[in-house]
Amino acid sequence: MSGTVALAPSAPRPNRARQRFLRHKGAVVSAFVLLLVVLGSLGAPLIEHWLGHDSNKMDITRRFALPSWEFPLGTDEAGRDVLLRLLYGGRVSLLVGLAAALASAVIGTAIGILAGYYGGKLDAFLMRLTDAVISLPTLALLIVLAAIDLKKVGIPDSIAQSEAVSLYRIIFIISIVGWTGVARLVRGATLSMRAREFVRAAVALGAPARRIMWVHILPNVIGPVIVATTLSVGGIILTESVLSYLGLGIQSPMSSWGNMLSNAQEMLSQAPQLVVYPGIAIMITVIAFNFLGDGLQDALDPRAGE
């Protein structure tokens, strides 16, 4: 090699990445759709105020009402406003999806970098652990985890009975089984980074391991992690909906798109529209997250998409 130093091609330049993202029409439309979903669910109290009734108020006399100016999507089996419950449910489903995806990404990245950087026995142990978790029947395990009696784990009654606990519990249990994909991905990327000149130079200069992992490796593996995390949000929203449908996820009166469907089977012949709406909300949101992830992949990690 002559005088010039071959710079490692690190993350692609941002403006190119933006161009590539904008070329993915599905991703652009999806970003817009997701923006609407977020605005709608954040604006739920506002819409509640305009409509002039409480989203949790039950009224058996007006159950299964058809759409009207007062109830734009009609009412459910307990006489509650379906539109408002959908909007509030969106908050919960999005929160669970994003929080659990983020938590899984953090766990997976930590495990992947440690395994890839240190190698040897630690790597062997962590990867065996990852393989073991991958080969578990996830849904059945999640059902067990969701059914655990919190009092028996030593969580005080006051917390175990509180309304928000079903929300935190579901985020927690999805995160502890959901980190494996990111861990493998990051380990692979770390291994290839570790062999690069700039990392070896940093090692030779005596930089501490923690600094190498934080400053030199993490920024260079974060692109694929962002892609994988975005792609996982949709799957997590689906998992939340399944658990809530089975009655093990988000508990009433808090609404989520999944638990709006928990009585779906009985409503199917009486008021099928109530079964249709939440499912469509879930599907549109999940499709949008998947397209968004696809577009981000084109933008941040162009070689992997091919």
Partner: protein
């Protein structure tokens, strides 16, 4: 090869052991207490009986000792009794296992048989109308809540059109082969649609990569018909990674089966496990979960073997 299988077998056994310990511990944390459930069935029991029963079933022992006892019995072939069925666990599981195998097997074969030509077709038609259509269909399949798809199928075919039964495995009093098949159609259709999308998408991506290879250009330039090029050369080479993923996704297929069975009231392993967990039938839930794990592990092993069998460049060490 034999060494590889043996090594993987030992590893799988370790995973199974780990899983059994974790699930054993978790199941003890579920609401309700087996002794309380027994007591609630008989009002004459006193607190003293309660303690005696606890001792009889070894529930006063610490968790690792109880687990050790369970494991010793299990290795000896005694998997315990099902509380809800009052019969040995294995005896209960038998017929359920068969029905799940039927459901999963039929959906698996159908979805792969449809997905591979579909993905290949999309790849050949890359960036044209058919490709976009298939791609959108795959995205939808990956993004639909599985239980909701089942509900929509019931709504369409059972409630609106009334062509097919909404659930169960046979009409009461009218048992017959045709009747059973009619009950199978919707669950199999549902699970097939769920499984189809990911296989087709992967097949498309692999085929696109393969069609760019030099040997495809060689095949074309030596005058082979386009059909021979695609079905003979491209398919064979694109199939390798697809087969691996298909086998690795056995766990996903099982999760799909659990949901499908629950919605359609189809008495298979998935529904059995779900009911056992909710019904505090500890022994049954535990063995059911372990069985599901074993299934996934076998799938993973099959994936590795298939990969080596299909690609002569790969050798198993």
């Amino acid at each position: 090869m034999i060494r590889f299988v043996a090594q993987r077998g030992v590893e799988s056994l370790l995973v199974l052991l780990l899983m059994s310990f974790v699930v054993y511990g978790l199941i003890g944390l579920m609401p309700g207490d087996p002794i309380d459930i027994m007591l609630s069935g008989d009002p004459r029991m006193t607190p003293a009986d309660r303690e005696r029963l606890r001792a009889l079933y070894g529930l006063h022992l610490p968790i690792y000792e109880r687990y050790g006892n369970w494991l010793a019995a299990a290795v000896g072939g005694d998997f315990g009794y099902s509380r809800t069925f009052n019969r040995p666990v294995l005896e209960v599981m038998g017929p359920y296992l068969g029905r799940t195998a039927l459901l999963m097997g039929a959906s698996f074969v159908l979805s792969v048989a449809i997905a591979i030509p579909l993905g290949l077709f999309a790849a050949v038609r890359q960036r044209r109308f058919a490709d976009y259509g298939i791609n959108l269909f795959c995205f939808a399949g990956k993004s639909v809540p599985p239980f909701w798809l089942a509900l929509m199928l019931i709504l369409l075919f059972a409630v609106e059109l009334q062509w097919l039964p909404a659930g169960g495995i046979e009409t009461v009093g009218a048992s017959g082969f045709v009747d059973r098949v009619r009950h199978l159609v919707l669950p199999v259709l549902c699970l097939t649609l769920l499984n189809l999308a990911s296989v087709a998408r992967l097949m498309r991506a692999e085929a696109i990569g393969t069609l760019r290879q030099d040997y495809i250009r060689t095949a074309r330039s030596k005058g082979l018909s386009e059909r021979r090029v695609i079905w003979g050369h491209a398919l064979r080479n694109a199939l390798n990674p697809v087969v691996t993923v298909i086998a690795l996704e056995f766990g996903t297929l099982f999760s799909g089966a659990l949901i499908t069975e629950t919605v359609f009231g189809y008495p298979g392993m998935g529904k059995l496990i779900y009911d056992a967990i909710l019904g505090n039938d500890y022994n049954l839930a535990l063995i059911g979960l372990l069985f599901a794990t074993l299934l996934v592990l076998i799938g993973n092993l099959a994936a590795d073997l298939a990969y080596a069998a299909l690609d002569p460049r790969v050798s198993l060490k």
